[in-house]
């Protein structure tokens, strides 16, 4: 049974023979995460509409329920009962499949976010429920944070195939933009995650959280802010949120990749988009801001619940930042998007990763710190110089050859 246990992940509850109680606990966790995920998404849609309305000097949803809280529920119910159109030129099977390819990965990311538990003072965040030790986390697979990259690379298919299978020009343009954008920014995303893994020394998300013992050890500080900034930008691009929403640029592409979708299939895309915002905020908090680790001890609340409270508080901060960015920043132009991704973010994240690796090596091998730092600065300046030279040459060549299109 050991082999099957390792198939199911590293949660201590799944080691040994699977009895009824552990199975029930796992099932309970799945149901709770599913329910909380849906409710959180519902509240997120309301929050975003209300906050943006505030920033735009409007009122926003205020009719259904107190403060319009039930507006999303009403919208969802409407979508369920709307006619589900299938365009005549659509590829039937792929058209039906695509919403699920977008929706399922968005949900699965929940499983690797540590949702609570006591990690303070080097504790391992394990809790005991009904006599069984487990984590406040749906799954803790050995590949850990790599699962996020795998899932975000599957989510590309949802958008891409939705656009293609609609059999219509504008969705196709949207999906071609989406695939180029998501593949470009995935590299920067992966490299900034790699910096965190380098410091934490483990892939497992609970291990990464455990490594960020107190405020100074939070990876946002110990990796030197830059990987966090890059991750934040790249994650926004991966989610196709403004200012990176070229995929569904309403002014240019009607509605983007989901133009031809209606009814609950459109609803699934909508849900996936907002759920991605929440899960990505959760991942940012896990990777860079210590996950459920608190800044101080909240009196009167047991350790494991305190972690959950801290996690929610931190996630809400990032959700607000995302809404704020959407209300503030204008959309990128396509060439600006590609320049930012390939010429700034990828070289910067790669360079920073190398820098962190060298500093780590210097610390382990006890090299002279001053010499190492001086050498790093020289090499980095040299790289920046060569890169900007290459950019200038290629720009000059482009201008000499005239416009391509």
């Amino acid at each position: 049974m050991v082999a099957s246990a390792s198939l199911l992940g590293l949660d201590p509850i799944s080691i040994g023979s699977l009895m009824w109680a552990p199975l029930l606990i796992i099932l309970m966790k799945v149901v709770v995460v599913f329910g909380v995920g849906l409710v959180a998404t519902m509240l997120m849609v309301w929050f975003e509409r209300k906050a943006i309305a505030g920033m735009n000097n409007r009122i926003g949803p205020n009719k259904a329920g107190p403060w319009g809280l039930l507006q999303t529920l009403a919208d969802g119910t409407k979508l369920f009962f709307k006619e589900d159109l299938l365009p005549e030129r659509a590829d039937r099977f792929v058209f039906r499949l695509a919403p699920f390819l977008a929706f399922v990965p968005a949900f699965l990311v929940w499983s690797i976010i540590p949702l609570g538990g006591d990690f303070s003072n080097g504790k391992d965040g394990l809790v005991t429920w009904f006599g069984h030790t487990t984590r406040v986390q749906l799954a803790d697979p050995p590949v850990g944070i790599l699962l996020l990259l795998a899932l975000s690379s599957i989510a590309v298919y949802g958008i891409m195939l939705a656009g293609w299978s609609s059999g219509s020009k504008y969705p196709l343009l949207g999906s071609v933009r989406a695939s180029a954008q998501m593949v470009s920014y995935e590299a920067a995303l992966g490299l900034s995650v790699a910096t965190v893994i380098l410091l934490a020394g483990t892939l497992s998300t609970s291990g990464i959280v455990g490594h960020q013992g107190n405020f100074v050890n939070w990876h946002v500080i110990s990796t030197g802010v830059i990987p966090f900034v890059i991750f934040m930008i790249a994650a926004t691009a991966e989610m196709n949120r403004p200012p990176f929403d070229l995929v569904e640029a309403e002014q240019e592409l009607v509605g983007g990749f989901n133009t031809e979708y209606s009814g609950i299939r459109f609803g699934l895309f909508f849900l996936a988009e907002f759920m991605n915002t929440i899960t990505m905020s959760g991942i940012i908090v896990t990777l860079f801001f210590g996950g459920p680790q608190g800044l101080f001890d909240i009196p009167g609340i047991p350790g494991a619940w305190e972690g959950t409270l801290w996690l929610i508080a931190k996630i809400v901060v990032f959700l607000y930042i995302y809404v704020w960015m959407r209300a503030t920043l204008p959309r990128f132009r396509y060439d600006q998007l590609m320049n930012l991704g390939w010429k700034i973010l990828i070289p910067a994240s790669l360079g920073w990763f190398m820098l962190m690796a060298v500093l780590r090596l210097a610390r382990d091998e006890d090299w002279n710190r001053g010499v190492v730092i001086a050498a790093c600065i020289v090499v980095l300046l040299l790289c920046v110089g060569i890169l900007s030279l290459a950019n200038r040459v290629s720009k000059a060549n482009r201008e000499r050859e005239g416009a391509m299109f």
Partner: protein, 180 residues
């Protein structure tokens, strides 16, 4: 449990592989390829190679097939290919010969080593459960330690391929003299 996982994953791989060959629509063929790649990833997990499984999904399913689809969509070749006509006359007989040859070789290898294959081992012994990151440590030791030269040569090969592609697709425009 292992047998069950193996059968399901093998069915996925085979169904995908047959789909790649049989489906006449390029996009459907690419989707079948994804199914095969996922099956291989499941096999990796069953063999305790978690890192390889993740990389399989991220790199092959996540990047390479996305590029395939991107090219198919961008070039607009997404209409049904006519597989009745044959561009090269030798292609099909050659494919049959090579296919049969590979099957023959694999069968021969299995028959020749049947003593080793048929004996039941004591299962995989990996230190994986105690330390989830030992998998990556082993892999990195062999890639960046034992086989570092081969690894670096492969990366040079990839760079050469990229530079070559850029060079081949570049049209050298004659520099237009400014008429003034």
């Amino acid at each position: 449990m292992e047998l069950f996982v193996f059968v399901v994953a093998a069915a996925m791989i085979l169904a995908g592989a047959i789909g790649v060959v049989v489906r006449s629509h390029p996009v459907h063929a690419a989707l079948s390829l994804i199914l095969t790649l996922f099956g291989v990833a499941v096999m990796f997990v069953a063999q305790e190679a978690h890192f390889l499984a993740a990389v399989q999904v991220i790199v092959y399913a996540g990047a390479i097939v996305v590029l395939f689809l991107f090219v198919i969509m961008l070039l607009g070749v997404d209409r049904t290919e006519d597989i009745k006509t044959e561009p090269f006359k030798v292609q099909r007989p050659l494919a049959v010969i090579v296919g049969l040859g590979v099957i023959g070789l694999v069968t021969a290898a299995v028959v020749a080593s049947r003593d080793v294959v048929s004996s039941r081992g004591s299962g995989l012994v990996t230190p994986d459960m105690a330390d989830p990151d030992s998998n990556i440590r082993q892999l990195s030791r062999s890639v960046f330690g034992d086989y570092v030269v081969a690894f670096e040569v492969t990366s040079v090969l990839l760079v050469v391929a990229v530079v070559g592609t850029v060079l081949l697709t570049r049209r050298v425009k004659p520099v237009v003299e400014k008429a003034s």
